[in-house]
């Protein structure tokens, strides 16, 4: 191992872990909806784009940051309720693939609507956090990435507390465990679904702002979903903790792979490497690291 640059390795690893946190932020939105309704919401990326574009367009029209955040959140809540009414409610009791296809269609509608309402222009977004490196023992770490990691951690803690200690959070868990039993004890399924879509809208807004500050608010934000899918396979589709751990694993492995073995494959391998890892993982542990193992009577 003589000559191996451990400092550089550490830098790639830390950078990968911090990138992974950004993937986790997107994956949490998927988990919220999957956990309560069993739907893989392919429109999460489009929601992220819609939220970020709405926020930045409002701030560019002179609305201050906190007010723009509140207005955008209100719009995302309204959107969540509208999706529940117009898309999910008519499809109750339909097979999961039908619901998935509905969210696929929804993603196109949202992408088109976002560009129709706010235009196609690319926007810069400054959250006031410098994206410059600071040096820790020779390892460069981005201040912005640290901030994003702190936000993700805060979100996970808040969501965990919410699910464990609030009445509505417990309602979410009841619906996730057994929809029919939840209905039998008087929980309003439609209201819970609308609420969870609104919560996913909040996650989309937070993730959209962080990704938007990094890469600009533009259409490609909706493609971020592609980064979240292997995270979900690794961590489990219904575990918030799994989304975090899966994100860290995907971020670290794809960066290390790109740097250390990328050249043997012609470079640019990180786009598919995470999927290859996820595929292998599916064969070994189909429910993911923290996902619930489904046992069904047949």
């Amino acid at each position: 191992m003589t000559g191996f640059d451990w400092l550089f390795f550490t830098e790639v690893l830390v950078g990968g872990l911090l990138s992974g946190v950004m993937y986790s932020l997107v994956a949490i939105g998927f988990v919220l909806i999957y956990k309560t309704s069993g739907v893989l919401n392919f429109a999460q990326g489009a929601m992220l784009l819609f939220a970020a574009l709405t926020f930045v367009s409002l701030t560019e029209r002179g609305i201050n940051f906190p007010l723009a955040f509140v207005i955008t959140f209100a719009i995302m809540v309204a959107l969540g309720i509208a999706i529940e009414r117009a898309v999910l409610r008519p499809l109750v009791n339909k097979p999961p693939i039908t619901l998935f296809m509905a969210t696929l269609g929804l993603s196109y509608v949202l992408e088109g609507a976002a560009q129709l309402v706010w235009g196609t222009q690319v926007h810069g977004l400054d959250l006031g956090i410098e994206d410059l490196p600071f040096d820790i023992g020779g390892v460069f770490i981005s201040q912005f990435d640290i901030f994003a990691a702190a936000v993700a951690l805060g979100l996970v803690v808040a969501l965990s507390l919410f699910f464990r200690y609030t009445r509505i959070g417990l309602g979410f868990r009841a619906v996730a465990d057994d929809q029919f039993a939840a209905l039998a004890v008087g929980l309003k399924l439609n209201w819970i679904w609308a609420s969870v879509w609104a919560a996913a809208g909040l996650v989309a807004l937070v993730a959209g702002l962080l990704w938007g500050a990094r890469s600009g608010v533009q259409f490609s934000l909706s493609l971020i979903v592609l980064k979240a899918l292997p995270v979900l396979v690794l961590g489990g589709f219904d575990s918030i903790l799994g989304a975090i751990v899966g994100g860290l694993l995907v971020g670290a492995t794809e960066k290390l792979a790109e740097v250390y073995i990328g050249e043997y494959f012609g470079g640019g391998i990180e786009s598919w490497f995470a999927y290859a890892v996820a595929l292998v993982f599916l064969l070994i542990r189909p429910a993911g690291l923290f996902g619930q193992k489904l046992v069904e009577r047949v």
């Binding site: 235009g119 196609t120 690319v122 890469s215 533009q218």
Partner: protein, 447 residues
């Protein structure tokens, strides 16, 4: 406009179905020349699409409004949305080609252009790939209908290396230097790999080429690799979101922005504004200057935008890089028609006649000035076998608010590149069984 066009094509198709004889479409529609536009106004690259096609349409509209068309021939256009997707582009081609009097195709997409080459060759209509496309289509002996006007990817590479050489005190000073090329993981991004290798060998610099997978919204690994390689310069050959992310990640990993040189698809406002302060001091190549101070742009503002007839929704984008590229593209298309009219008559021309016009598209600096485009672009000199037309390049630096030109007009090393282009085009001709044209074939025109 579109409805009218579609009504007219339906009427034309109906006439044909009923057995009416139309001896010559051109004579039947003697006062219109049509541009079918495979535009992209929604989707991931809509910002570029709206700017470019907006500028192109603005110029066509200016010619109609100010001059009454080209020698009385009105210019018309119809749009087919592609979202920059190849299959949609091909579908739009098949749908729009039935419009009478088609002058030329301008898809502004490498993928769509590649998919159209066989079709437009069969249909004998020019395909314009300004600043992009396949490099060997420069060779008009093999590609009679394809025109990578102003700048093909190899010339762009040569221009960038010449510029870096000039910054270092001459090309001989490149010896021992190290250049990293960060390229988009697509056929477009990979097009210049061999030419960088060739130029590295010729001038004695070391080159390392690193791929960024599409779309490029995550580049931590690539920039850490760059930091470890410690290059003197990084050439950014990006597209879309890859560009601002590259600039931000460079800042994050401590690489100086004034050592990054962008290629021609990394040179717009859309590439730098999202990067914020990280883009200040970034330099990129261009074939056309940005800004609204050029007479032709001022005329567009006065004639169209002040009358509420401009194509851009956002007036702040007038004079932006993509808008000005669209205007320059408009100038080149219109002048090709004007030149062809001098030979074939002031009427609607066939696609093959417009091809002849492009093959004689020679605008020196005096003519460029007369067109109101002095310093907007340099000049062009297309011939039957050189479909690029020896475009000059310049370099612009982003100061945080606007682009500022920081170099003279620079000529790529065309003599060095030509044999490589011919080798590639001849191999293509052999593979496809294409007979290589000679100068004698140029005037053979289909009516």
């Amino acid at each position: 406009m579109t409805l009218f066009r579609s009504f007219r094509s339906t009427a034309l198709a109906a006439s044909l179905a009923l057995g009416f004889t139309l001896p010559n479409v051109a004579s039947a529609l003697a006062d219109e020349q049509h541009f079918p536009l495979q535009s992209y106004r929604v989707g991931p690259y809509a910002a570029g699409g709206t700017g470019f096609f907006g500028g192109f349409i603005d110029y066509l509209n200016l010619i109609n409004t100010r001059d009454g068309g080209v020698n009385g021939v009105k210019l018309t256009w119809s749009e087919g949305e592609t979202q920059y997707e190849v299959e949609r582009g091909v579908e739009a081609y098949e749908r729009l080609k039935s419009n009478p009097g088609v002058a030329a195709w301008n898809p502004l997409s490498v993928g769509i252009a590649y998919a159209m080459i066989d079709r437009i060759t069969q249909d004998k209509t020019p395909l314009i790939t300004i600043n992009h496309g396949r490099t060997d289509s420069t060779d008009g002996r093999v590609f009679p209908y394809v025109f990578p006007l102003l700048l093909n990817p190899y010339s762009e590479t040569s221009g960038i290396v010449n510029y870096i050489g000039s910054k270092e005190g001459g090309l001989e000073s490149l010896k021992g230097k190290k250049i990293v090329v960060l390229y988009h993981g697509s056929p477009y991004g990979k097009e210049t790999i061999p030419i960088y290798e060739l130029l590295a060998k010729k001038y004695g610099f070391e080159v390392q080429q690193i791929e960024v997978p599409h779309p490029g919204n995550e580049q931590q690994a690539q920039w850490l690799t760059i930091r470890r390689a410690k290059p003197d310069y990084v050439v950014l050959r990006g597209w879309g979101v890859m560009n601002p992310v590259a600039l931000k990640t460079a800042a994050k990993t401590g690489f100086p922005v004034d050592r990054i040189i962008g290629n021609v698809w990394s040179n717009s406002e859309e590439d730098v504004i999202p990067a914020g302060d990280a883009a200040k001091g970034y330099t990129a190549i261009t074939t056309q200057a940005s800004g609204a101070e050029y007479p032709v742009v001022k005329e567009i503002v006065k004639t169209l935008y002040d009358q509420g007839k401009g194509n851009l929704d956002d007036k702040k984008r007038i004079g932006s890089v993509y808008h000005n590229l669209g205007i320059v593209n408009g100038i080149l298309n219109v002048e090709a028609i004007r030149i062809a009219q001098q030979k074939f008559g002031k009427r609607t021309l066939t696609g093959d006649e417009v091809r002849w016009g492009f093959e004689h598209l020679q605008l020196d600096q005096a003519r460029v000035e007369a067109l109101g485009a002095k310093d907007l672009f340099h000049s062009i000199h297309v011939t039957w076998d050189n479909h690029e037309g020896n475009g000059y390049v310049t370099f612009q630096q982003w100061d945080g608010a606007k682009w500022k030109v920081v170099s003279d007009w620079i000529a790529p090393d065309w003599a060095l590149l030509r044999p490589i282009i011919e080798k590639s085009s001849e191999a293509y001709a052999k593979e496809k069984g294409i007979k290589i044209r000679t100068a004698a074939d140029v005037d053979t025109v289909t009516n």
